[in-house]
């Protein structure tokens, strides 16, 4: 017990996380997926393996040197799945990072200033929340090219309302605590109160919730890819790969099965890590 007091709360949370077997399994799986996807350029040549067409070898599994077989244009499916993972992971994580920054700003301002500022910001976010994410995405890809950056921004925007509410609730619960009043009485500026004193205590519990948005981002980008409005070919993307495999479902099971299995594994890994993170941080909070 004495030893535990010496540790800071984040170390305690990390300790709890590393003791949680399912969370560690998720973390391991996630690490393998991320490493495999981002090291793909070391093993595969983009022009030759990822977009290089080889009609003579199409729709086969297994093929020598291509353990996951070939797609409808004879391209190496393993290389394409790994390359596609770079797109999904980048957009999934990137959109959540961007959204959490915006949501933290909006949620904090709304909660701290309250009154008209609060209700104006929250009503504006309610409008975004009222439109199903998929329809919002359709609206966005009508007005801008479906590049990686644009899709990341659009998906991130759809996360902002939900995240901002979480931050707002947290800041509301912290901002009237005595220590905040004390810091303010010492003459600290509003910015300093918020950044140095309110946010560090308010954000902890919502970080795990933010991580939980990453699977949603990956689902959305692959869904957009599947309906043909996401990342455009020949760049490999999991959803788009499944869509083009749909036509060959009677002849080649592997091109409709394997990219989807990659999505499922990635999302399971992220969910396990997110769950573990939430448990670890929650008990840190209740243990104070």
């Amino acid at each position: 017990m004495q030893e535990r007091l010496g540790r800071n709360p984040w170390q305690t949370a990390w300790r709890r996380l590393s003791r949680n077997r399912t969370a560690v399994a998720g973390l391991f799986l996630l690490a393998v997926i991320v490493l495999a996807c981002f090291s793909a350029p070391l093993w595969f040549d983009y022009q030759r393996d990822v977009v290089g067409v080889n009609i003579a070898q199409r729709l086969r599994i297994p093929v020598e040197g291509k353990p996951l077989g070939t797609d409808e244009l004879g391209r190496n499916l393993l290389a394409r799945i790994l390359w596609g993972g770079r797109v999904s992971l980048t957009i999934g994580i990137g959109s959540v990072v961007l959204a959490s920054l915006a949501a933290t700003l909006i949620g904090t301002v709304a909660a701290y200033y309250g009154g008209r500022t609060d209700s104006l910001l929250m009503r504006a976010l309610d409008v975004l929340l009222a439109i199903p994410a998929m329809l919002l995405m359709i609206t966005f890809v009508t007005i801008m090219a479906p590049t990686q950056t644009n899709l990341m921004l659009a998906i991130g925007l759809s996360f902002v309302p939900g995240m901002a509410r979480l931050v707002r609730a947290q800041v509301l619960s912290v901002k009237d605590l005595e220590y905040v009043a004390a810091v303010r009485a010492q003459g600290a500026s509003t910015a300093r109160v918020l950044v140095a004193h309110v946010l560090p205590n308010a954000i902890g519990p919502v970080i795990a919730s933010f991580v939980m948005y990453i699977p949603g981002g990956i689902m959305t980008i692959s869904g957009l890819g599947f309906i043909g409005l996401g990342i455009q070919p020949p760049t490999p993307e999991w959803g788009a790969m499944l869509a083009s495999g749909r036509a060959y479902i009677r002849d080649a099971w592997h091109i409709t099965t394997l990219p989807g299995a990659a999505i499922v594994l990635t999302i399971i890994a992220l969910t396990l890590v997110g769950d573990g993170l939430r448990d670890a941080i929650d008990s840190r909070m209740s243990n104070r």
């Binding site: 009503r123 309610d126 409008v127 975004l128 009222a130 439109i131 199903p132 994410a133 998929m134 329809l135 359709i138 609206t139 966005f140 890809v141 009508t142 007005i143 801008m144 699977p215 689902m219 692959s222 869904g223 599947f226 309906i227 043909g228 409005l229 959803g239 499944l242 869509a243 495999g245 749909r246 479902i249 009677r250 099971w253 409709t256 099965t257 989807g260 999505i263 499922v264 594994l265 999302i267 399971i268 969910t271 396990l272």
Partner: protein, 312 residues
Amino acid sequence: MTSYVLKRLTHIIPVLIATTLLVFALLSLSPSDPAQLILGVGAKPEELAQMREQLGLNDPLLVRYARYMGGVLTGDFGTSYSTKRPVLEMIGVRLPNTLVLAFGSLALILIVAIPLGVALAVRQNTLFDNVMRVLTLLTAAMPSFWLGLMLILLFSVKLGWLPSSGLDNVRAAIMPLVCLAVAGWTVTSRLTRASMLDVVRQDYIRTARAKGLPQGVVMRKHALRNALLPVVTSVGLLVGQSVGGAVVIEILFGINGIGKMMVDAVRQQDVPTIMGGVLIAAVVIAVANLLTDLSYAVIDPRLESMYGEPAA
């Protein structure tokens, strides 16, 4: 009760105006020139200018929005740039399919998830509870379209039991509806479970048990009715998810619905059709939310007394 209904009705209108104005404003940023889309590439500059004037594209955004909504109220949703047909007519043909998907899957979610959630609550921390937890993790990680592909692979390609496309009969509807319902099953059964566990710890449940009522009656009449309140509240949200999710399912199963119409329209930069699709979706969701609120008042009599006529 009447004042409650009126209050909810007046809540819908600002939401509808705000969402449609937002989408209208976003779509007006579309880089393509509608006049060019209508007249084709061979059009002369004077013709394009005349068409733009005729379409009212030179007016300010709010004027165009007001004109559009005025048209909508009289049944004029504009004309599609690509098919040259009235958007309302295109919607009329496709809306039934989308409604079948959205509300069929909603019914399927509630029919399966509520009893499942109750069973999970009653058998808390048993093998069944744990197996379902793993199953939930798995299904929650599956994109609906991939689950659909796997079902097609099994039931259409391998077994030949179900058709792989369309929505013409009950057999064809099974796979699309299941794909749309799966996400809702996990969410709603977990919600029902948590809500039931919360309710069964209340004093009035102990009272009901203490007066000797059988377990089944306590669960059904006393616990479930109260435990369902949060589930009913989530129905509005589920409808929104089903309407959004239907887009992907319509593409996968080749169903001619609003979602497929909109996806085709994006490729053609057909703004009036996209706007019409979003508008109809927003109306469907708003109406579903309204019905949810109203059924909430029926289930929870406390609300009625809150908004009812004052007693004295």
